[in-house]
Subunit: 371 residues, 2 copies
Amino acid sequence: MNELARPPAASLTQEEAFARIRLLRSPNIGPVSYAMLLARFGTAVAALDALPDLGKRGGRQYRAAPADRIEREVDAVRRAGAKYLFHDQPDFPALLAEVDGAPPILTYRGDLSLASAPCVALVGARNASAAAVKLAREFGKGLAEAGFTVVSGLARGIDGAAHEGAFPRTIGVIASGIDIAYPPQHEALQERIASEGLLIAEQPPGTEPRGSHFPSRNRIIAGLASGTLVVEAAVKSGSLITARLAGEAGREVMAIPGSPLEARSHGCNHLIREGAVLVQSPEDVVELLTGFDGTPRSTFREPVSQFDFEPGEMAEAQPADIAALLTTAPVAIDELIRQSGESAAAVQLALLELEIAGRLERHAAGRVSLA
Amino acid sequence: MNELARPPAASLTQEEAFARIRLLRSPNIGPVSYAMLLARFGTAVAALDALPDLGKRGGRQYRAAPADRIEREVDAVRRAGAKYLFHDQPDFPALLAEVDGAPPILTYRGDLSLASAPCVALVGARNASAAAVKLAREFGKGLAEAGFTVVSGLARGIDGAAHEGAFPRTIGVIASGIDIAYPPQHEALQERIASEGLLIAEQPPGTEPRGSHFPSRNRIIAGLASGTLVVEAAVKSGSLITARLAGEAGREVMAIPGSPLEARSHGCNHLIREGAVLVQSPEDVVELLTGFDGTPRSTFREPVSQFDFEPGEMAEAQPADIAALLTTAPVAIDELIRQSGESAAAVQLALLELEIAGRLERHAAGRVSLA
């Protein structure tokens, strides 16, 4: 086993840190089942040992990711000059840790203390208007000067301008691995953020960004910040997903308004109409977020669509309540999915929860019953 | 006595109609004291008879306006092709009648049935941007096509464009007398509104518009409509007074957003930030106002500043609660004003209320006591 790139907290042995990475990278394990297994078995080492027995007789297969692949990952993280951060380490961003389905393991480069300062997320369209790009830069600058760390996603347009305005008080969260520059136009900006600010990645090194990674990346952006400001965005856009995630997490959702004659403003106007706080200046944001106590003034609560996430991707469904549907007579999992009206992922997660509690028995042909 | 230009309702004699006009035009009488006197004495004829005795021994002077001046007014209204409308006549707009301090007598030209349809007020800046003028015309057109009557103030910029878009379903409320065209650039528009739509004036004929008349005119605009939409306005503007009056009256307050980089949008953005509903299209307005039941979705409730009105002008203060300060020992009215912290107008109105209830005694040198 390689040494981990960053010495884990005193209570976290090298072996346990390695096991945690390996557990999270195992098939069919996401943040929710990871947390469930850690809670049930105490350590990732013990959870990995138990993994093959879970779901053994039919149902979902659980097997640990190959150890040599994890060794290569740890090595790649070190070569990228990056470090690991685990959810229960003191430096793990407190607000992010509160978010449902937040990634329990991150990789990062740069100044981690930036994530301990009050954070505000600035996001928006890639094809933003010149006026909005100017606003993003001004808001980035004004908020950094007011002591906030500006979080964004390193995309072209609004994201890039927000980072540039805020230097060096800025965090870039990327959808790729920590060692992959994306988009290509922002390679230099990403390197500058890593050296002067803070660069964060959830995916393992070597991961090229995929469409399905962006909602999970957006969850981290929204989760780090006490408020998310959408600078300019059309109605169907990733920025609105970030705003929904911020609202779902109980954070402030803010938007800069624009004329109805400008389609690129319609997303922001929609957010405001649905309860996001209208802001016109960095001072408006500072006033709103200073002393944020977990009770947002924003009333924006638009549900995050299931379709925003790919099943089995980093953002896992929450376990469904299906114990009531079970008896000691075996029943097909497909039947449980039909009867509960829940997604397959949510039902599988609920079965895993029952299984590690010793209440589930698995039978042939994908059938289950109460133990 | 001249005939009134319009035959009053069956229950309203020519003599009583004349007396009502005369009572309202009398010095120190505004809508609130007018209503108080009418309630106390049953008819304006009786109230006029009682007027000289009120406040006789010191305090405010109440004397009827000269009858010959009222005769000339009634004649001028007829020559302008206009008619009178009294607050208790069936055609008096129902929503306007509900507003505190609404004018109990109006003059009008045109199609009074337009005021019985659902009304929406469209207001905004005189020096509006070309884009906002275009929006005002489009909203006027779209709302008229949806069956709404569009109410505005005939000012240059937004008002004029709203009227033009809505023809013939539009009401112009002017701050001058019914026979005075203002602003001069809109003389033809005003004439067209009078002949195809509906033109309403609160001030007596011959009255040139004064700054102090505009807030009262704005109260009528807001009062006629179930909702007021501000299309474009700076922070300090008459349009925001109209919005405050609409909010105070429990009506919908709506605004079209704009970029923070455009100072002419800041008033609208401020309204939205404080609870006005953001609208982007005529359909948004139709959706909001259709079936308006008196419970607005807008939460905008910014107080109407006393400074928006000139003391003694058409918008009277509400009577203060000063009976508790009085005993049977005479006290100076100035002292009551000091002790109550109320405006002089509010205290005088409260004293009038006590006096017509027979509870007040007036003494020399402006002193009063309980009777």
